[in-house]
Symmetry: D2
């Protein structure tokens, strides 16, 4: 940590900061410049949390952190890439997955039709919401445990492992009985009691990035899971809020490249939530792969115009099958012309 003193800081204030740095267990290195003084707090053993309060000390202009705040998710302590096994399907380090299925489980028929269709088209895992976070209390909130039963049935028939969202700590045990991977929704990325609870389960967790979270905040949310005891985390970029009104969110593909640079965890992309607009989903799927994503999560509904949630961003089964065929084909540019 660097403490940047204000130009008007007195010698007494500088000495006070030096003493407080030592009190927190660090060494203090002072650089006296022409206009101002900066003080470096150095050491591995100090109490960083206490140090941060120094920003409130008299004469301090700003505190500048110089190391990354996350440890276990970072690549400094672990150089090899993590591979997560979800019911036999591997994700990460070259293992690449397609997760597909409806936004919400709406009925046994709807789910089974979707499950069979996405399996036939080549998906590796099935998604489907049993508990739905909805902005309005008057919107469809999910079928709950009934939907979990349908998901289990779909797995039995298709063999596809299941990922579904868990919204609160009270549902964790129940959802663990049915799902192969538990999803933390974007709104819950910083639901710390939920993260602490999921750190104790033996299921992998799909951690969606919050719509306004930075990559660091996302990695720190993952750090709650790893430091609490669950090393099996898949990150999922699902778009961030921006000013663009024509699209629901802005899919931040550079965040995938950045997250993979900073962390050893696998990262998948969700172009369905990430754009909210069916017409651009195929090209964003291709772009996410090109950006280095370890997989895709795609919303597929047998009849999007009757979906109880997220219809406009759902592909129907023929469109999904077409997308899957396209993803098999190589993308190339040659002699300045893309072919």
């Amino acid at each position: 940590m660097i403490v940047n003193m204000s130009p008007e800081a007195t010698e007494e204030q500088i000495q006070h900061v030096i003493e407080r740095i030592k009190e927190c267990g660090f060494q203090a290195h002072v650089i006296r410049g022409a206009e101002r003084t900066v003080i470096g707090a150095v050491g591995k053993e100090g109490r960083r949390g206490e140090l941060e309060a120094l920003q409130a000390a008299p004469g301090v202009a700003a505190l500048v952190p110089i190391s990354q705040p996350f440890k276990l998710v970072g690549r400094e302590l672990r150089s090899e890439r993590t591979v997560i096994d979800v019911g036999g399907v591997k994700i990460g380090d070259g293992h690449w997955v397609i997760i597909a299925g409806p936004c919400s489980v709406e009925s046994r028929e709807q789910l089974m039709e979707a499950a069979r269709g996405v399996q036939r088209a080549g998906a590796h895992m099935l998604r489907g919401g049993a508990y739905k976070p909805r902005t309005s209390p008057y919107d469809f909130q999910g079928l709950g445990v009934e939907a979990l039963g349908f998901l289990r049935e779909a797995r039995e028939e298709t063999g596809l492992p299941i990922v579904t969202e868990v919204m609160g700590t009270e549902d964790v045990s129940l959802v663990c009985e049915y799902a192969d991977m538990l999803q933390v929704g974007a709104r819950n990325m910083q639901n710390f009691p939920l993260l602490r609870r999921l750190a104790k389960v033996d299921r992998p967790v799909l951690l969606k990035r919050g719509p306004s979270a930075t990559v660091k905040e996302w990695l720190l949310a993952a750090e709650y899971l790893l430091s609490g005891g669950n090393p099996n985390v898949v990150l999922c970029e699902r778009g961030i809020k921006t000013f663009e009104a024509e699209l629901r969110n802005t899919l931040d593909l550079a965040a995938i490249a950045l997250a993979k640079e900073l962390s050893h965890l696998p990262v998948v992309a969700d172009p369905s939530h990430g754009t909210g607009r069916r017409s651009v989903i195929p090209s964003m799927c291709r772009a996410a792969i090109a950006a280095g994503a370890d997989g895709l999560m795609v919303e597929v509904h047998p009849c999007p115009e009757r979906a109880l949630s997220d219809g406009p961003q759902s592909l129907d089964l023929p469109a999904f099958a077409k997308l899957m065929r396209e993803l098999e084909r190589p993308m190339t540019t040659r002699a300045g012309v893309m072919v």
Copy 2:
């Protein structure tokens, strides 16, 4: 709801939308323009949720909602302003409160000193965090139930009602035993299981606006509480995320005016989180009052530079006492000169 058909929509697609509107329980009114057709869905009895999926129907360019999505928090059904009673202190409709205290309860001594100080200066309620949502798992997470005990003790001595954050459903019963008002933190504004649980308690709820939430999303979060059975909600504007790097958040005072225009609920401002910078807090307190806030929530710490959280935005006791004296004085402009 208005369904805006794309210019290329076929007559068959238009007819399909008309039929689906009727299927959802609405009447369909068609306006055929020079370039495109729009269809209004009219009626009180229709199923709006099902209608929304029509955005995915062929030939539909966009759906345009024309009524507000919230009901109970709105002013259409309730014209008088709501007054909330928190342990004898009234908020709203001219009843105006100052809530003050430390970000976190750090020790019995720290809390009692803060409580006595803010009471002496004229505060009406005491705040203090027992459970703290922190971005990093390595930061101070609050003293939990021990802190709740200290808060109770502080109320007994000072008489100030207590507001404290509840972070998860599992803590709601416990926190209700100690607190006069339960705070939903900004990160939890859309934690729907928590909102549904708090709809069932007999304590008022202070609902902070999410850092990237629109005013409508905030009011819909409140609608979860009212529609679930708890009419005692105080809204709290605490700043939104913007690009401004010098301030932690941007205190959105127009959102206070707007929330009071759209809703009958009282709205308080939190300039401490809303700016994160001690130097601008007094002027933002004055501005929030001028904007029509029903009260202020201010972080006060006996020694900010030793605070375990949010020191830089905490006032010390003399600064808080000075602020309280200033708030008593009239603000005026006369002959073009502010005095």
Copy 3:
């Protein structure tokens, strides 16, 4: 400047950075920590621009600036507050102004009616656009020089000094003949050729903050004017882009407090553009005053529903007169009840 080396930086890379710092005319102070090394570049005479390229040197994690990038607009070199004289009307350091008038000058009649009305109500200056920046080429683009003539006539009749926008360098000389203060619109805050040109005129400049600009970027835009030779700059906060959809912009009142903390220049608020919603303009005017603004800029139109631009955010003349009467009255809170 602090150079933060990455944990993997080699000794050779550290030495290279030290040499480059010296080459740029600074002294290098090295702090070797447990995990990484940071190097301070110290000195008044160094070439900061060249130093910044070091971020691209091998082994460098990040560069951390420790001093403010602006000089002449800052308070370090000038402790007293600046007062700007606009055709006899003073702004700043206790001199407080109301600037009012239509968004666009639409006709001689419209302008004269507005001018008489705002003068009668107590405004100190008249605004009115002759050249209008419009998102669409098909929208009304302003009457140009004809409007400038009407503005001059309005000043002759009412005595109110005129402020009007200049959009490009080619219009500067002409607008200077008619206007008492030249406005740089929000979209032009970083139109550097325009700023350089306005640095050479003998008219004060009203510099609007860009809708996505930070306060520092705004002050650096003002620095172009001061460093180029024009010390007469009034800053104008006019709202920033945020996710809030009900309001056109988010009026950032803390930015006013912050700009006045960092700079000696006067700062006025434009709640009309800052909110885009007539109903909240009066409360935002009061809030801006309470936040410390040196004045207000308010859009007033004799018939807002026929305005060729910005009707929804324009007050009509009776509403403006009512606002002016309200601003004369003291605002106060007493015994917890605002009166």
Copy 4:
């Protein structure tokens, strides 16, 4: 346009709106719902600009536009894709380009070394800034006309057409003498006098998206060029401002897909400005191609750590050559493993 009346609107107010719609040259279609009335304004001949002021009429809740505001850049009037010829290099509709070169032209030697290097690696056009928009007046502002001379010389030697930024109307004639394509920088996307001037030149224009502009605003800026007489416009996505602090901007690849869906103009991507971080540029180049970009614009500098601007986001010549080789190779996914 749909006029959404508020629930409290009186019959008189409804009639007034109907009359005003007719006055503006449209027909009025009224839909009376259970709670509120909406009125459609229909017709091709009406004056839309006047209609918009109706938002300020009594009883009006909101105006809802139902058609796209742009005409000439849209695909409704022109179904085939536009191909732009820049000094013999074609862009669009399958013609795909790499534009490379330094951010700023810093010297004859630096430019020639960069030009030869990017040509050798396979670039089709050369970029280089002669006039630089810089946030601070104390930063390097470009060599101006001297740089233009170097660019011409580089073209003569390498045969690569030149694109360079023009910052103000006063420089347009001069830059046209030297450049094959004129760049409008992101800060100038809504510099309307500049756009109007560039509508009159016989050079293609590269129009960068503003860092906070929506896709519609970007297309409307292009509409200024087309409607003013210049049909040769290449759009360039260069990243938008978001909360992500680790990256300079967020490259919005879905905006490329969306712009190509809404417009017939070619769209290129600038991953250098779009991310500001060298390590993620190659993957963002691949992703941009996969998203459907018609080309890439990449900053290349012979020695990034000595660059006078944008060093951290510049590739050196070997890194650029490596990128070019990678772009030649097909990208594919097969059997769930990306190869």
